[in-house]
Symmetry: C2
Subunit: 121 residues, 2 copies
């Protein structure tokens, strides 16, 4: 059995499922609304399977109250995944710092070159 | 073929691979260093397969310079994934706001109850 974090990342590793989350970010929607944009490319069982993966990972919840059972996005599973990523922030900030340093050195070299050429005139 | 974001999330959807990233967060390491903690539970080919998944997803890079080819963590792929998550921040903050409101209302009710009991004395 997958641990929760693996289940969340696994559920996010699919463009259809991410598109479904993007739709739900705009507001609650029932299964037929969610299925509609994908029906030309895949079968309804394939679509409901994607929804089940999202539901099992806790990324969406199906309301049990209303008769048409709308789905809604559940942010907490995403928060857990985002918190996990946060511990690595230093690594991408470092790489951007390196890029920044590189760009600064390139600009400095260009300026120096510009001055040199200026002197020649 | 998987898109980049799906490849990143898919690579992160495994506790062994996340443990390897956690090891690399402490500093560069070669394959045998990375393999060592897992050798009691899995075969070396299984371990190198995990490393290949991480490498293919751009989460780690193998240095081509040194003879022992150390691996290092590459933060940029994680940044892309983290940026994607960031757009959903409002959803987990909302759910924490709701929890906060709930806790405040519970505390308020308890206080009110306490006062009521106080009056009875």
């Amino acid at each position: 059995m997958q641990d929760n974090l693996s289940q969340t990342f696994s559920a996010l590793a699919d463009p259809t499922r991410r598109a479904m989350l993007a739709r739900l970010a705009k507001g609650e929607a029932n299964v037929s609304d969610l299925a509609e944009p994908f029906l030309k490319d895949m079968s309804l069982p394939a679509i409901t399977k994607h929804l089940k993966v999202l539901e099992k990972a806790g990324l969406i919840t199906k309301s049990k109250e209303a008769q048409y059972r709308p789905c809604k996005l559940n942010g907490e599973a995403l928060k857990t995944a985002s918190d996990w990523m946060e511990q690595y922030r230093v690594f991408w900030e470092e790489s951007f710092d390196r890029l920044d340093e590189y760009l600064k050195s390139v600009t400095a070299k260009k300026k120096a070159k510009g001055k040199k050429h200026g002197r020649k005139k």
